[in-house]
Each structure stands twice: as structure tokens, then as C-alpha cells.
């Protein structure tokens, strides 16, 4: 049978869904959701990608008309008219613009969609309202490209001053062949370029926290022992000196070039010698947490997405995961912990966005770099089921240990037992060679744990915290008041600065 008459096909689908529904409802009464599974709390729903399009989703933007714009590595921009449709299979992708050069940034403002292409920041409009873009204005081409595939440009949303921030990958891993490779630039509405940070190697995404500070992910490679989340503090140096030769072109916009770091040293040793060097706020342990850190987004849902309002979510392309990062400021620097959040995305998780104040969208691609999610391209959405997971909510450094805050009250006996925790530390070699092994391992002693009266936090007293080390905390013995295990019983805190 080549083609079913359309009525027949509908009937078949209808019958199938009835059958499925009856199976589900039949099972529901017996089946309690498994409290140890991520999907019990966060549902992952995939949009089937039509065969004729390639949706290697470089960036996502939610538009005022409640549609979702998706830009692709092939240079198209699609619009998903109904991103919250009940069954993602019924959604339609409509081509809005094409012929662009690998768009890895979308930001909407005043009727224009700003697209960060490899070669420039462009604003795009459909001036005749025929559903297709027809005006492509170059806002700025204030950086150079050389023709190296590594020369990616990731663009942010607008900051509170109306700037788009662009992070520019080096030419390859090691050098900056042309101007501003290895830099973060701010571009204002007039197209004026403000060089903002040097020291970038190979970004995977860029995004703001709720305070409006900008962060990006950089990937393991030269001068980057492991993938990490970094704070683009204006004027800072992010660690890879490859692009530092362009300081002289900035007209001293951010001062003279910092001192060259010493290869083979340690990040915090150099950070003390180089005032501009901003240490990574959070390493993503390689390979436990991921191998290709990518998109960054802040949970702006005010609780509609669950208990993590204000925290950052970061994708990992290689592991097809979303991680969670809670940051705090110590000595004027952001630092904090990463915690697993959700795995199982359909392709290599890259772009990430919150829309409608309650839904997380994750776009994926695994072209050129493999991923656990095996589809070539993807758009997934994550919806909170309303069920509160038992998770580490936050982790804070103290001068003599850590405070761990939980999403639900804990069993004070289990959580108060030192033996419920395991704490080890290590750091990376800060070096010009590619990546770094974990070195300088230590095992600090947890001397005492005090559980708060409300059961929502535990205070760990630790001897020999290690400045500059990743503190890997396993909480396998902690139980909730009703005896649940933590959904993700591990957190990795990057302790650059010990609070005094």
C-alpha cells in the first residue's frame, strides 16, 4: 500500500492513540513514578525534525508573538509557530531566512532579529510581512575571519545597555591569526565595537545570569585544563594568551595587555601574578560532567520551572546533557558548583533558552563532534512535572567548609553523619599544551556536619580546603526526611577563593 486515503490514515492514527491511551491509563494506577528518575521531575519532549530540513540549532530566541526562532549551522532561520503545542509532532517549522553563515546567536529587539553569523552581526527584518526576511543589515563586521572552521562566533541576547556580546573562537586552538580572534566584543546598537575581554579559546555558548553579568563556556584545550564556565568581566583576561596581540588595536579600551601567563603553572598561582586573569568560575569535570560545554541560560521562571530560579543551566554537546550551576560571589569573583540536571537530549545539546516563563528549549547538533544523543539535529523541550526533586539546591563555600542546601528537608541523622559524604580535590595544570590531567589530588577531612533545624541545609566543617581546587563532593549517604536518595548525589565546587 503506497498511500492511505487521508481519512483512513487519520482513523488509523486515531485508533493507535486510543490504544496507547488505554494502555497508559490502564497502567497508571499501579505505576508510581520512579523517584530516582529524572523524567519523574522533568519531562523531555522532542520535536520530530522534518526530513527535508536540517535543524542544527545554533541559537534560539523567543519572539514577542510567542513563536520560537531557531537559527542553524547551515545558515537558516526557522520559526516554530507553536512551541508549546501539546504534541510536538504536530509542530511546524517554517523557513524565515536563509543564506546566512553559521548563525550561533539570535537576539530580538524592536522588530529586528539580530543574528550573530561567523562573519558579522546582522539585523534581519521581514519588511513586507510576507513571512520571509528581506532586509539583512550589517550591524558590525568588526572582527576578522580567516577561513578556519574553528572561527566560530557566538552571540548573546541584549544586555541591559543594549549591547550584543560576541565571543570569538581562536583560529584553531592555539593562535589568533586575525584581529579579535580569542576575544569577547560588545557591540552596541550603532554597531560600535567595544573590545571587552581577551583570553578566549573555543566558546560553546554565552549567556547572562539574573544580575545581568555575562558568562560563556570555554572548552578543554590549550590553557584550559577542562571545560569551564567563565565570567566575562569587562577588562578581564580569560586565560588563553593567543589573542593578546590585539590589545594594541583596542586603543587601550581595556588597558594594556596583561602579563603572559607561565605555562605549567596553576590557575590561582597565575591569577595572583596577573591581576586581569579571571579564573573560571566553575570547571565541568572532564569527562564526568561533560566534554564539550556549550550553551548558557539563566532560570528566569521565578519558580515555574521548579526550585532552581536564578541558577544557570549549561548544555554539554558531547554528553547531550544539561548541567546546573549555582554561583556565588567571593572576593568579588563568581565561583560555584556544577551539578548534573538532565540527560538524554536527542542530539548534541548546544543552544538553550527559557520561553514563556516555564519551558526550557534545547537545540542540538552533532555534526563534526559526536554526541551521546545520536540524532544529527534536534529541538527538545523540558517541562517541569510539578514534582519537587530531592536535589542539592545550592552549595556555598565557607571559610572552614561548605554549606549544602537541599530542595527538601533531609533526614538529620543521615545528613548529619560525616560518613555520608566523600570529599576529594584536585586542580589542573594551567598550560599551553592541550588540556590537562587532574593533578595535586588531596582528600580534606570533613570533621563535623551540622544539619539546620529546618532540615534544609547541612554545614560541613572541613579541614584543609584547597584554594584553586575543584572540590568533588559525593553525598551518597544523605537521605531526605522520607528516605529518598538525592537524585544527583554529587557536586563539583571550584574553590578559587576561600571566603575569610
Amino acid at each position: 500500500m503506497n498511500s492511505l486515503p487521508s481519512i483512513g490514515r487519520c482513523t488509523l492514527v486515531f485508533l493507535c492513540s486510543l490504544f496507547m491511551a488505554s494502555m497508559l491509563s490502564a497502567q497508571d494506577p499501579q505505576k508510581q513514578p520512579d523517584p530516582n528518575k529524572e523524567e519523574t521531575y522533568y519531562k523531555l519532549e522532542s520535536f520530530p525534525i522534518p526530513e527535508h530540513i536540517s535543524l542544527e540549532a545554533g541559537s534560539l530566541e523567543y519572539l514577542p508573538n510567542k513563536t520560537l526562532a531557531i537559527s542553524t549551522r547551515r545558515g537558516d532561520i526557522f520559526v516554530l509557530a507553536d512551541p508549546f503545542i501539546k504534541d510536538p509532532a504536530d509542530a511546524t517549522f517554517k523557513l524565515w531566512a536563509s543564506g546566512l553563515h553559521e548563525v550561533l546567536g539570535l537576539a530580538y529587539k524592536d522588530g529586528w532579529l539580530y543574528a550573530t553569523q561567523r562573519c558579522e552581526l546582522t539585523r534581519i527584518k521581514d519588511s513586507n510581512n510576507d513571512g520571509k526576511a528581506d532586509v539583512f543589515e550589517t550591524v558590525s563586521d568588526g572582527w576578522e575571519i580567516n577561513g578556519d572552521y574553528h572561527e566560530y562566533a557566538f552571540g548573546s541576547k541584549f544586555d541591559k545597555d543594549g549591547n550584543v556580546w560576541v565571543v570569538l573562537c581562536l583560529t584553531g586552538s592555539f593562535s589568533s591569526a586575525v584581529k579579535y580572534r580569542g576575544w569577547c566584543l560588545r557591540i552596541n546598537e550603532d554597531g560600535k565595537v567595544l573590545p571587552t575581554c581577551s583570553g578566549i579559546r573555543s566558546p560553546g555558548g554565552i549567556g547572562m545570569n539574573c544580575a545581568g553579568d555575562m558568562f560563556y563556556t570555554d572548552n578543554q584545550g590549550p590553557w584550559n585544563g577542562a571545560c569551564a564556565l567563565k565570567w566575562l568581566k569587562p577588562g578581564s583576561f580569560q586565560g588563553h594568551p593567543g589573542g593578546n596581540k590585539w590589545y594594541k588595536e583596542t586603543g587601550e579600551a581595556i588597558g594594556p595587555a596583561p602579563k603572559e601567563p607561565k605555562s605549567g603553572s596553576r590557575m590561582m598561582v597565575e591569577a595572583k601574578l596577573i591581576p586581569e586573569l579571571e579564573p573560571p568560575c566553575c570547571y565541568f569535570p572532564y569527562p564526568e560532567m561533560g566534554q564539550s560545554a556549550a550553551g548558557v541560560v539563566c532560570d528566569t521562571t521565578n519558580g515555574k520551572f521548579g526550585p532552581f530560579a536564578g541558577q544557570l543551566f549549561v548544555t554539554d554537546q558531547s554528553h547531550s546533557t544539561v548541567m546546573r550551576v549555582c554561583l556565588e560571589k567571593v572576593d568579588g569573583h563568581y565561583q560555584g558548583a556544577c551539578i548534573p540536571f538532565r540527560q538524554g537530549f536527542t542530539s548534541g545539546a548546544l543552544s538553550i533558552l527559557f520561553a514563556n516563563d516555564d519551558t526550557m528549549f534545547v537545540g542540538g547538533t552533532n555534526r563534526g563532534w559526536g554526541s551521546r544523543g545520536s540524532k544529527p539535529d534536534s529541538l527538545d523541550r523540558v517541562v517541569w512535572t510539578g514534582e519537587l526533586p530531592f536535589e542539592i539546591h545550592e552549595m556555598h563555600a565557607k571559610k572552614d567548609g561548605f554549606e549544602v542546601i537541599f530542595t527538601k528537608p533531609v533526614d538529620p541523622k543521615a545528613a548529619g553523619d560525616v560518613a555520608s559524604y566523600k570529599l576529594t580535590t584536585y586542580q589542573h595544570i594551567y598550560q599551553s599544551a592541550y588540556g590537562s590531567p587532574k593533578v595535586d589530588h588531596t582528600t580534606p577531612t570533613i570533621t563535623k556536619v551540622e544539619v539546620a533545624a529546618d532540615g534544609k541545609s547541612a554545614r560541613l566543617f572541613v579541614e584543609q580546603l584547597q584554594e584553586g581546587h575543584v572540590h568533588e563532593l559525593h553525598l551518597d549517604g544523605v537521605r531526605s526526611a522520607v528516605g529518598l536518595k538525592l537524585l544527583h548525589p554529587v557536586a563539583y565546587y571550584t574553590l578559587n577563593y576561600i571566603p575569610q
Binding site: 545558515g75 553569523q117 592555539f174 563534526g368
Partner: protein
């Protein structure tokens, strides 16, 4: 036959040495303190560390200094000493200059710092030593003659790059050519000035197969092949006068086929490194002929490739091999020809009429890749001028040679050096006490040379170590086995220079910069030779054996070669397998299923792009996706032990800390539940089953994909990417009328126009998207890389060459008008430009019309538009302008165009005349 009586020799030496001791005290006090001690790399590297305790160090030295060739070791000690055979001298006369032999024999360590050859004649009186040395020199030099041949500059340059990359620097000091001084490296041998010792053919032959002369493989065989050996030898001999190797003549004239060079009027002659049109500045109307000599490595069928624009011809031994005559576009012709090893004359003839000029001559050796024919060019004998400064030619004295032959035997040279004369080995007549009977403070081990014995300028540590080893022989009752045997071999053969095993060895900081890669993005895994920790468990012993014996290149991205050690480490593979065996537990091998086709099919699915995507980073035989291109999956089953493969796949980091190899089974759980029910063990085993077929297995999905042709159907389409000829900011436009263009948004210029097919996006839309993509269609016209507008203050003002941005040009984007045709927008000064292209015409005959509209408040004067530029622009009968043979520009009738010559080019200029702040220019391309 003349013989030197042994007794009289000994007596005389005794006397002489007594005198010598008396006389030389003030004159030449020869002592260990003055000379560099013998350099044994394993000793230098590990001496003083727990990895080389004193006795082990002594055993190493006993082998490397060849002590046991004279002083027999017995029992267990003999088995623990791996004797390094001295160079085979049967044809040393072909290789080493007599002048060098003279100096070296007279005082080895002073001539070659760090040599492991002892001084055998140290205590002889000057005169007598001279006689003995002279006799030995004549004897050794009677085995052949050093053939001088000037190194070629091109080879030396190539050799410099090879010396710096293939691994020479693992054991030898850098040799900068810029005159900078580099400190000698620890555990590294300085090569000094090899031209003292070698001429080019001899050194190249040695480098091509060091094991033929030094069978002990302390200098291993680098699998260089002839051309690369010549190149490295040329570099090492770069203090000699260089030759170019090719002679050429330039014949000007407008030819449509190759001229008869014997009759032609030669305008210039010269020497060249390569067959290239760059030897002349002429760009058209000329012919060239190159003459030289090639030296081919083997008998066989060679395939020659001749690529040219316009005509060319290749002659070998004065016979035409390829005739590629006539005016034509760049094209290649090839021809196979059987040739014998050795020298052949070669000539290449070429002519260029007009347009592009290109010439390339390549050769493919039997079973090898193509390479430039110029790699095989050899220079002739050294020229007269350089011979004049060379020392007088050595005249062999047969009597002396005969005397030398006896000395070679009586002095014990033959104890260490194998040598055959007319097929007859020379035996040593020297007898020495076995090690166990030595006193260990005199003779070879003395601080200063002693009569009747050989002598080494040993360091105190070396001396102590040797003494300890000999004294400790009794306590070392067993042969080295397992890891001890492995460690000793890795020390002896300096494997630790490149490979770490456990905590020992590996590339140190001083050498790190010498280890290079083709693919920097692979990090250290792509650059540093792999660690040998656990290698006995990882590799199949047969594979290990093969790699050690023959060398290897499974990691082509690591520029350092794994050398060939021949049969020198016979027990290594077995010992390392035994030592590491227990490091991996027996894996749940699914042997019974390895032949199951369905199981293999599941493995293939996992390896493919939509499975686990192994091929995104790994090569499959000769097929690869652009990007990382790690080692080929088709070699895995041949190399790896399946018991090791299984746990490695599940947790690579456990075996190779820091590896970028990801796992598809985090915590042992499959991330792809759809295959084999997500059973981890089954999935890993299915991959192994699939890989077991090696090159015979059918390629996994996603490896080869065809073109992605972009087609404009009813509307124009845009492709913005890296486009060859239009730069990294190219915007290509394909029109349904089958005309296409590429605008360069960096240079603000029309870069290319072409017909028929638009673009193939597969290069950029598959894998990582590496490189520039040329247009897919036909009749590609390239436009000059200059800005479209310029203010010309005088008739002779040249067109500006600065890049557009530096001249104030700004790209503003584009807008799409009817049929989605783009109007490019840019500005300079106060001028806004709209640059619009559209196909015009009908009935399948279309031209590309360009309409440029300028808006300016200042309406500047003397502004011109460059409508066309070329070698020659001719006005055609119908009022068009023909640019070279490429295309014709048509202008509206009333256009005031100016045709001018500037800097050797023809330019068609259109003055920009503003009316009410607006100007419009139109031109149409017909091609």
C-alpha cells in the same frame, strides 16, 4: 704480505708509552677530565634515579661500550648485557672520508665528543701513533671511495623540516640554521659537523638504512626512504657548497607549440631547484627548458605526471615520455614508464602564450604516493671551485693498507667491528681477560690512558657503575625477565625519549617542542608518541613485535615516526605481554557471536554517524570526515587485545588519563538503548565483531556522502561561506537563469561570476566544514582583488591596492528585492552604494547586468568605477570591451568610458557623475 711483528709492536709500544707518560705530562695530559665521557643516552636519561640503580647502569654501560666484546662476561651477567655491535666496516671507504678517519683514530673522543669508541692508541708516541693511524686509514679507505656530490638547497630545506619533525630530535641536538646557539640537551647527541665525515651519497645511504652499518639499532631505521634520506643528509651537510641541480633556459616568443630549443634564441639561463614557471618574471609569450639528472631508488614502473598551462613535454634519457604540447587550459597528462634504479637525464620543456601560466611535474614510485619529480634531482660532482678548497685527494697506498689490515686484527679493532674483505671476515687476534678476572682500576677504567689497553674518558659515575656491575655480577644470578627486561630494553634503545611507561620516560620539557602534529586540535594525543603503560595488555604480541621490528605509522598525525629496530628486541613483545597481562581482567567476550552477521551489523550501526558516531573522530581506512581524523578503525582489531578493548571502550580515561575519547557507556550504561537492547557488553562486543573484519568490513554509514548541490529554482538563493576566490566573507548568489556570482564582503567587490551549477555545500555542511569551496559550475571569471571605486587625481594615478576596510569601505548588508535577488549595500566616505545584479535576456541566453547606484551629499569629483581590468582589453566591433579571452563588458551607449594602461594592466574606467547627489552606472557581463 707484509706483517708487523706483534712482539716488536708491543715492545715498542711499551717503550713508547713509558716515554709517553714522561713526556706528555706537561704537553698533552690526556685524562678523563678533559674529554667528554662516552654518551650513552639511557644512562644520561636515568642515571642517578631509582629507575637506574648503579648495577643496572653498569650493565647498561658494559653493553653500550661493548666491553664484553673483548672481556667476556659469564653466566647471568652475560645474559643481562645487551651488547651494542660496533659499526660494520666492510665498505667504510664508501662512507667515511679518510681525513676524518685519520683524526678520529688518532683521538676518537677529541674528534667526536661522546663517542663510545675507546682510544686504543693513546699511549703510543706521536710518530708511531701516526704510522699506525695512517696504516689503518689506508686499510679502511681501501674498501671504497667517498663520492662527493653537492647537496641541493631545496633538499636541505626539506631536510631541515624533516629533521625537526620525524624524530631525529628525540636523540640529537637541534641544528638551527639562523646561527642561533642552542644549549646541548641532556640525553641528546650532538651531530657536530657531519661534513667532516660524510659526503652526501654516503650519508644519505646510511640514513636510509642505518641498520646495514649499525645493526645494533641504537640509531634506528626511520623508514625514511631514499628521497627523505637525501633531504635530511643534505640538511646535515648544509655547510657545504650547495647546488641547485637543474639548469634552465628562457626563450621569449609567442608560441602556439613548443619551440625547437636547439635552434631557439636564449634570452636567459640559470639554475633552478624545481620545474617551475617562477624561474622567470615573464608572464606570457615565453618558453622554458629545464635539464638535470634524476637518481631513482629502485627498478620499476614509474608514473609521471605533467600538469601545465600551456604546452609542455617531459623527456627522460632524451626520449619523450609525455607530450602535452599546444595551447591549453591547465590540464594534466600522465604516463607510466619502466626505468632502472640509478641516474637518468631528465628534461622538461614548456611554453606559455597568454593567460594563466602553470607547470608541475610529479612522479609516483611503484607502490608509493605522488611526489615532486624535483625531489629526485641530483646535482653533479662537486664543482671545480669547491674542489680547490677541499683537501688534496687521498691517494691509497696499498702497502700501508696491508699493514693496516694486520693492525686491525692485532689491535683488536676486529673484536668490536665486523668487517669482511672479499667476503672473508677479519678476526681479532687480540685476547683479553674475561671481566671476572679484571682488577677494575686500571686499563680501560683508568683515569688516564694506560699502555696496552684501550681507554675511555669515563665519568666518575660511569666508572663506578661499571665496577659495581662487574663486582655485583655474582649477586645478579638471574636473567632479566618481565618488566625488568622491558625496562632495560626501553632504556637501552632510548625508547623513553618518546614513550612513557609508568612514571619513567616520556617526552620531557626540553624536547616537548620537537614533537609536532598535523592536527593541533588533537592535543597531546595527536602529537606525543603513545605511553607504553600497560601496552603489553593493550596490544597483541604479534602486533607489538611487528611495530618494534618494522616501525609503524598508525597515527599519521604524529609527525614523529615510530622507527624500525629490526631484530634487536627479540624478546620485547613477549616480555611486555607477560609483564602487563594481569592489568585487564578477562572481558565478557562474545566470541561465539563475532561471526554472526546480525551482530556485526549492529556493530556497524554503532560505529556509524547515527550510532555512536565513532567515525566523527576516527578515520576509516582511507576515508575520513574532515576534522580530527584519529587513528583508523580498520586497524583496531589487528592491533588490540579484545580483553583490553572491552573495558577501554567503556571507560577510556581509566586507561589513558586525559584522553578525549568519550565513552558511550557512562557508568557502564548504554546511551543508545535502541541497539541490542542497550546491553553495554553486547554493544561493545558488536563493535569488536564489526572491527574484526578490518579493511574488509563495509564502511559505516555517514562516512561518504555525495555532493549537496544548491539549486535556484524560481528565486535567487544565497550561500554565505568560505568560497575559493571570494574569501571568508563571501556571499554567493545563484539565479534561476543559471548565472551565479560571488560577492566578497571583505573586499567589497564582485569576486566571481560563473554559469550553470551554483555551489556544492557538502564541504561546509558535512563534518566540521573545513576549507574554501570553489564554484560548482563552469566558465568561472575571477575579478581583480581591488575596490570598485577610486578617486584618480591624474590620468596616471594608479588604482589603490589597500584593503577595502582601510580605505573606509563599510559593508552594510543586503536587501532582497523581486525573486529574492539581493541588492548589496556598502558605503565609503559619505557615499552609500547599492550594487544590484540581475540576469537579463531570454530564451536561455542570459547576461548578468550590474547596476550600481551611488548617493552622496558631497558628490565628489574625479571618482571612477572600475568596470573591468585585465591583461588586455580590446574594444569589439559591436562596441563591447573584451577582457583577455575571458569575457566581454557591455556599457550603455552614452557611457563615457576610459580605457587606460596602468601598471602593466588594461583598465576600463567609468567616471562617476553625480546629478542631485545621485549617480548610476550600468555594465553587463557577457561570457
Amino acid at each position: 704480505m707484509m706483517r708487523v711483528s706483534k712482539r716488536s709492536f708491543v715492545l715498542r709500544s711499551l717503550l713508547a708509552s713509558l716515554l709517553g707518560v714522561l713526556c706528555t705530562i706537561q704537553l698533552t695530559p690526556l685524562s678523563a677530565a678533559d674529554l667528554a665521557p662516552p654518551k650513552v643516552l639511557g644512562f644520561e636519561r636515568l642515571n642517578g634515579t631509582p629507575a637506574l640503580p648503579e648495577i643496572a647502569a653498569g650493565e647498561l654501560l658494559l653493553g653500550e661500550l661493548n666491553c664484553t666484546s673483548c672481556h667476556a662476561a659469564d653466566g647471568a651477567l652475560a645474559s643481562r648485557v645487551d651488547k651494542k655491535p660496533a659499526p660494520i666496516l666492510s665498505d667504510v671507504g664508501n662512507r667515511v672520508r679518510p681525513e676524518y678517519l685519520r683524526g678520529f683514530l688518532n683521538d676518537p673522543a677529541a674528534t667526536k665528543a661522546g663517542t663510545t669508541m675507546p682510544n686504543v692508541l693513546a699511549t703510543l708516541p706521536e710518530e708511531e701513533r701516526k704510522e699506525v693511524v695512517e696504516a689503518l686509514v689506508h686499510f679502511l679507505s681501501s674498501t671504497g671511495e667517498v663520492e662527493d656530490q653537492a647537496p641541493r638547497k631545496m633538499n636541505a630545506n626539506r631536510g631541515e623540516a624533516l629533521y625537526g619533525s620525524v624524530g631525529c630530535l628525540a636523540c640529537h641536538d637541534p641544528r638551527p640554521t639562523d646561527g642561533s646557539l642552542v644549549p646541548a640537551l641532556k640525553a641528546s647527541i650532538s651531530l657536530g659537523k657531519p661534513s667532516r665525515k660524510f659526503a652526501l651519497p654516503g650519508l644519505a645511504k646510511f640514513l636510509e638504512d642505518p641498520l646495514a652499518v649499525r645493526p645494533g639499532a641504537r640509531m634506528p631505521h626511520m623508514n625514511l626512504g631514499q628521497a627523505d634520506s637525501v633531504a635530511i643528509a643534505s640538511f646535515l651537510l648544509n655547510d657545504l657548497e650547495m647546488a641547485t641541480g637543474l639548469e634552465f633556459v628562457v626563450v621569449p616568443g609567442s608560441f602556439t607549440k613548443l619551440p625547437d630549443f636547439s635552434q631557439a634564441k636564449v634570452a636567459a639561463t640559470g639554475e633552478a631547484e624545481d620545474f617551475t614557471v617562477d624561474v622567470t618574471k615573464l608572464k606570457e609569450n615565453f618558453a622554458l627548458r629545464f635539464d638535470g639528472q634524476i637518481d631513482l631508488p629502485i627498478d620499476g614502473e614509474y608514473e609521471f605526471f605533467l600538469y601545465s598551462d600551456d604546452g609542455s613535454r617531459l623527456l627522460i634519457d632524451a626520449e619523450v615520455v609525455i607530450d602535452h604540447d599546444g595551447v591549453h587550459a591547465p590540464a594534466e597528462k600522465s604516463k607510466k614508464k619502466k626505468l632502472t634504479a640509478g641516474k637518468h637525464s631528465v628534461a622538461v620543456e614548456y611554453f606559455e602564450q597568454s593567460g594563466g601560466e602553470e607547470l608541475r611535474v610529479q612522479v609516483k614510485l611503484p607502490g608509493a604516493a605522488r611526489r615532486p619529480l624535483a625531489d629526485f634531482i641530483v646535482a653533479g660532482k662537486k664543482s671545480e671551485t669547491s674542489a680547490a678548497v677541499a683537501p688534496p685527494k687521498f691517494a691509497l697506498n696499498l702497502d700501508l693498507a696491508v699493514k693496516g689490515r694486520d693492525l686491525f686484527s692485532s689491535l683488536g679493532c676486529a673484536s668490536c667491528h665486523a668487517m669482511k674483505i672479499s667476503g672473508e671476515p677479519i678476526d681479532s687476534k687480540l685476547t683479553s681477560k674475561p671481566l671476572s678476572q679484571l682488577k677494575l682500576e686500571s686499563g680501560c677504567l683508568a683515569i688516564t690512558p694506560q699502555p696496552k689497553t684501550a681507554w675511555f674518558p669515563l665519568s666518575e659515575l660511569q666508572r663506578k657503575a661499571i665496577v659495581a656491575a662487574v663486582k655485583g655480577a655474582a649477586s645478579q644470578t638471574s636473567k632479566l625477565v618481565g618488566n625488568d627486561a622491558v625496562h632495560r630494553q626501553l632504556t637501552t634503545f632510548n625508547c623513553y625519549a618518546c614513550h612513557a611507561r609508568g612514571d619513567i620516560g616520556g617526552v620531557d620539557e626540553a624536547h616537548d617542542a620537537f614533537f609536532l602534529t598535523t592536527t593541533k586540535e588533537m592535543g597531546d594525543e595527536g602529537r606525543l608518541p603513545p605511553p607504553l603503560t600497560g601496552v603489553g595488555a593493550k596490544l597483541k604480541p604479534e602486533w607489538t613485535k611487528k611495530v618494534v621490528a618494522e616501525g609503524n605509522k598508525v597515527r599519521p598525525y604524529i609527525l614523529t615516526k615510530m622507527p624500525k629496530f629490526g631484530g634487536n628486541l627479540p624478546s620485547f613483545a613477549a616480555e611486555v605481554a607477560a609483564a602487563d597481562e594481569k592489568l585487564v581482567p578477562a572481558a565478557p567476550l562474545a566470541q561465539e557471536q563475532w561471526k554472526d552477521r546480525k551482530f556485526k551489523a549492529a556493530g556497524k550501526q554503532l560505529v556509524g554517524a547515527q550510532g555512536l558516531g565513532c567515525i566523527k573522530c576516527h578515520v576509516w581506512g582511507d576515508k575520513a570526515i574532515p576534522g580530527i581524523q584519529a587513528m583508523s578503525l580498520t586497524t583496531m582489531a589487528e592491533r588490540l587485545n579484545p580483553n583490553w578493548f572491552h573495558p577501554y571502550m567503556i571507560n577510556p580515561v581509566q586507561f589513558r588519563p586525559g584522553t578525549r575519547m568519550p565513552t558511550a557507556w557512562p557508568d557502564g550504561k548504554a546511551t543508545l538503548p535502541s541497539v541490542l537492547n542497550g546491553d553495554t557488553n553486547k554493544q561493545v562486543q558488536a563493535i569488536w565483531a564489526y572491527l574484526l573484519d578490518g579493511k574488509e568490513a563495509s564502511a559505516p554509514a555517514g562516512l561518504t556522502t555525495g555532493a549537496i548541490e544548491l539549486v535556484a529554482y524560481d528565486e535567487a538563493i544565497i550561500y554565505r561561506n568560505f568560497i575559493e576566490g571570494a574569501g571568508p566573507r563571501a556571499i554567493a548568489v545563484g539565479y534561476p537563469q543559471k548565472l551565479n556570482l560571488a560577492f566578497d564582503a571583505n573586499g567589497m567587490r564582485l569576486a566571481l561570476i560563473w554559469q550553470n551549477s551554483f555551489m556544492d555545500a557538502s564541504k561546509h555542511w558535512q563534518g566540521r566544514g573545513v576549507g574554501f569551496q570553489p564554484p560548482l559550475g563552469d566558465n568561472v571569471v575571477k575579478f581583480p582583488e581591488v575596490v570598485p571605486f577610486a578617486t584618480l587625481t591624474a590620468a596616471e594615478t594608479v588604482w589603490p591596492k589597500e584593503i577595502a576596510k582601510d580605505q573606509g569601505y563599510k559593508f552594510r548588508g543586503y536587501k532582497l528585492v523581486e525573486k529574492l535577488q539581493p541588492v548589496f549595500l556598502y558605503s565609503f566616505g559619505d557615499i552609500e552604494v547599492e550594487d544590484f545584479f540581475e540576469p537579463i535576456g531570454s530564451d536561455g541566453l542570459f547576461f548578468l547586468r550590474r547596476t550600481v547606484t551611488l548617493t552622496s551629499k558631497s558628490s565628489p569629483d574625479r571618482l571612477y568605477f572600475l568596470a573591468a581590468q585585465g591583461g588586455t582589453i580590446k574594444e569589439t566591433a559591436d562596441g563591447g570591451f573584451q577582457v583577455d579571452n575571458g569575457f566581454t563588458v557591455r556599457l550603455p551607449k552614452d557611457t563615457k568610458a576610459v580605457l587606460r594602461e596602468s601598471e602593466g594592466k588594461s583598465q576600463l574606467l567609468i567616471p562617476v557623475e553625480f546629478t542631485n547627489g545621485k549617480a548610476t552606472i550600468t555594465e553587463t557581463f557577457d561570457w
